[in-house]
Symmetry: C2
């Protein structure tokens, strides 16, 4: 069954596009319905010790803390713990501060952990929310006192140099040390070190930007797919890609950041968003959290196309999900001119079918270097509408009744390059690296497989619970895919169902958003655990229906055009 994994790996090469760096602070302060953050600052004023009250210092502190707890935290108060490593320092600070000051308290499920005590109220209580992507890390430095984002930034995941995609990382993780040294997990350690170094660097950068000291950062939340979480934790992902596709852990308990080499506050804990399975990770649970899919009355759907294509549907009563293993974006050269949605990527293409003019727009406005996912979808949809791509997804140079203008346009653009038929989007002279930006038939084939898989996944999923697409109140589209894609074009290609455009809602980096949410609100973390327990997961790798539907979807828009009434009217 590894084969299907590999197959799916090639099905989604086009769709993993990172969010643009711009517009990060759109949301200003995060306005969440919260109860209390995973790390809280609690003002404490204890009764002075005397001969008539000889309670021990730390017991005195625990007891005063219990009384000072906000209502919501109080239910945990029967179980306040002080880690051994903190006892001496906390006791000394408590005494030096005259038995009054501020306790730093971590929430840990059924108990509170008292990790620090300070005399003066600190200005900030920083914590790091991390979206652990296979190619990029994105992080927010939050202040848990005010719920404000202090800074956001992104960094390359250094693991990329050991494998561009998830599958190659999995293989690398099994690499043993060379030269007869058969020590297990050597590759695994290299990958763990790489991602830890990337996170530490990203944190340092965020700290530099904000003037926060890394050792003052009180917690990290991590939202990532199951394999990335395994590599972060130094756990072998060996069984994730082998039937029956079992991860080693879905819901790791919080642990100390320094146990994996993260350089934060000594008592800072790592909170990992739980996953549901090998191909449905914490990044998706984050998405469910962020979109409130688990709290809505009406049936909604969330689509996240990143390294994997993952879809979940449901409401406050049930959640059903499936996912297909996929590869990372276009960067790997799967599509000839494919590239990440970075400066120079053609992100939008339009063909004026009156005057037979092609126009494009690149990210940043500079000379184009290649096609990113949304550009590709735009382009293929436009080519289909212009009858330059047929319903099987093949280039067609001529057809009965073709106009002269059409013929001239096609002749100018549909060329032979290196023995391959390509459609030229940008001529060499206008391109950034003086090579034309083109779409090859191979790119087109990959695109067709991707769109077919996407639609097959959606149909399979709704088929499982016997609902219709029209029953969907909202379809949230996460990540770069949701941000850049034009749903109209995706419908034209038969990639997304033919629903009113208002049904589709881009939700940005919901993986990062979920990581932020759990830091800011312990209830969100508990919700994430509940979501992971609640989801019914459909394994597509062994789903016959999926394979049938996949074949049926390899036409534009579909073998059954009746499913896409709005598309028929366009041509």
């Amino acid at each position: 069954m590894l084969l299907v994994g590999v197959l799916l790996h090639y099905l989604f090469p086009l769709l993993s596009l990172p969010e643009k760096r711009a517009g990060f602070f759109d949301d200003g302060g995060l306005s969440l319905l919260k109860s209390f953050p995973l790390v809280s600052l609690v003002p404490v004023k204890a009764i002075q010790p005397s001969l008539h009250d000889n309670t021990a210092d730390l017991d005195r502190l625990k007891s005063a803390l219990t009384e000072s707890l906000p209502e919501q935290l109080r239910r945990c108060s029967c179980s306040i713990r002080i880690p051994f490593a903190c006892m001496a320092k906390i006791a000394a600070s408590f005494r030096a501060a005259g038995f009054a000051g501020y306790a730093v308290v971590q929430y840990e499920y059924d108990r509170l952990v008292l990790v620090d005590f300070v005399a003066e109220q600190p200005e900030l209580l920083p914590a790091l929310a991390l979206d652990l992507g296979s190619t990029h890390l994105e992080a927010t430095l939050l202040d848990l006192l005010t719920d404000k984002a202090l800074a956001r930034n992104a960094a390359l995941n250094r693991q990329v140099s050991h494998g561009a995609d998830i599958l190659s990382r999995m293989h690398f993780a099994e690499r043993k040390k060379g030269g007869g040294n058969e020590r297990e997990g050597e590759g695994l350690a290299v990958l763990q070190d790489a991602v830890i170094a990337s996170i530490n660097e990203l944190l340092d950068e965020l700290c530099r930007e904000t003037g926060v000291r890394p050792e003052d950062v009180q917690a990290v939340s991590v939202s990532g797919n199951t394999t990335m979480v395994h590599l972060l934790l130094g756990l072998s992902p060996r069984h994730i890609c082998r039937e029956p596709y079992i991860p080693l852990v879905n819901a790791p308990d919080p642990f100390l950041a320094r146990e994996i080499g993260l350089k934060l506050h000594k008592q800072a804990r790592v909170w990992v968003l739980p996953g549901r399975g090998s191909y449905f990770g914490g990044d998706l649970i984050s998405g469910i959290l962020a979109t409130g899919l688990d709290q809505t009355e009406k049936i909604c759907m969330l689509i996240d196309v990143g390294t994997n294509a993952e879809v979940v549907m449901g409401n406050n009563e049930w959640l059903i999900a499936c996912a297909g293993a996929a590869g990372p974006a276009l960067e790997g050269g799967v599509a000839r001119m494919g590239m990440r949605a970075a400066a120079g990527a053609v992100e939008h293409v339009a063909i004026d079918r009156e005057n037979w003019q092609l126009s494009w727009r690149s990210i940043g406005g500079g000379p184009p270097l290649g096609l990113c996912g949304s550009g590709l979808i735009d382009l293929v949809a436009e080519l289909y509408l212009a009858r330059i791509v047929d319903l099987r997804g093949k280039f067609q140079a001529a057809f009965p009744g073709q106009s002269a203008e059409h013929k001239r346009f096609v002749e100018e653009r549909l060329l032979e390059l290196d023995g391959e038929q390509v459609f030229q989007v940008v001529v060499a002279g206008e391109a950034g690296n003086k090579e034309p930006v083109v779409l090859s038939q191979l790119d087109l084939d990959a695109m067709m497989r991707s769109k077919a898989a996407m639609y097959a996944i959606l149909v399979t999923l709704i088929g499982q619970v016997g609902v219709e697409f029209s029953d969907l109140h909202r379809i949230s589209v996460a990540g770069a895919f949701g941000k850049h894609i034009n749903p109209r074009q995706a419908i034209t290609l038969g990639m997304l169902p033919d629903l009113p455009l208002s049904t589709f809602e881009p939700v940005g980096n919901s993986s990062l958003r979920g990581a932020e949410m759990i830091l800011l609100d312990h209830a969100a973390f508990e919700r994430s655990q509940e979501i992971a327990r609640k989801i019914t997961y459909i394994e597509l790798n062994v789903n016959q229906e999926f394979m049938i539907r996949f074949s049926g979807s390899r036409f534009i828009p579909h073998t059954d055009p009746g499913l896409f009434p709005s598309v028929s009217s366009f041509r």
Copy 2:
């Protein structure tokens, strides 16, 4: 108020005598009404993973474990945690064992901690119970599978070389590094290192005796006085001996043994019996556990005279306690010929008042070297009954109506030695080191202060709750004091109340027993926390009534002989 501490320090020099090494296995297997030990072995058989059950390995293990838990453990099952450091190993073992084997589970208040997984049932699940005495450590290596004691042993507390008694250790703990280096807590670190080394050695010895590997020992329970616990944990005892006598911590949360340098299983935790205050430590809470004082309907009392003299009284509804700071035994040379209850110590003395013969018995039967506590109490009581010591506790050579035999006996024994009046118990020729074993007036004065303080404590305590001595159903006497003392003689001196001898019950090393109990039974650990919360502690250091009663008790048997009717009839 340090003065009173110092005073009390000298009040109890005579009474701290260690239990003899013999008779350790009297009780065979420990027969306790138990629910489950702090570390349990739980057989687990999980459903094999399949495409239809893709639960992650560790979630599968948690879930199978939950179902396998014995009834009593199940209530904690909602909260099974796996420490980060154990995840990879447990997951690997679980898979290698074919998803069936034995989970090693630690109980930790409101959660279970899964620390290991093994394919085959181990023969033993060893754990160490430790009585942390200021001069001696006593320990039992227990098997938590069978509840059997595998071995018991004792060792010198190496801290002795940095201070014979608690008070000198407290001062040593504040010693800074010399030569201008003012690093705080240098003395504290030395003391912590010393006791850790002693424990590691004792453990190694127990392991050698039994063939157990130290790294297989799964837990340590520690029962000790508050200062000893502070020194073990590396916490400053600075405020314990200073008004208002506040310890830094009374009930430390369990922590990893390796955090203080104990060399056991990497995940072994240290469970410290909670204390109630600076002068009422976990050793006494152990005593309450072991005697069931907190569960009896009738009012009972527990007296423990070790380094401190501690008394607690109560039943299943209330507990009241007090304690006086004291010094360690006779070894420090407080009494001229005082010594620990070791081989060569005169432990029993009798004076035949018909034939005026003195007989004695030494521990081990060899030539005597000195007087241990019980020997001293015997001797002084006999001297009082023989009218060689008067009711003020002073030697008297002659009195009106003295018989010729009496006079001859006194002349033979009451001598001048180095300018001091002494009573000779053993002549030089018969003594082990060829020096006579004698009792000096100074020894006698110290003895009088001790017995006066003991009785004053008891009277003060019962006065607090308005009960009479005759209301006491049982008086358990812990430790060496309880084991060796003749209650009849102690009553004669006015040290213990004049009650039927059947009221007094020696209970041996109840500190060690309590440490064993919590390892074997989590409910006992919870009981210990409850006991610590429940006790009302009377601070004698500031108790005027105590000082008045102390003065009234400095006669034999008392200024009010009516309190000791059975004694009057003896003379």
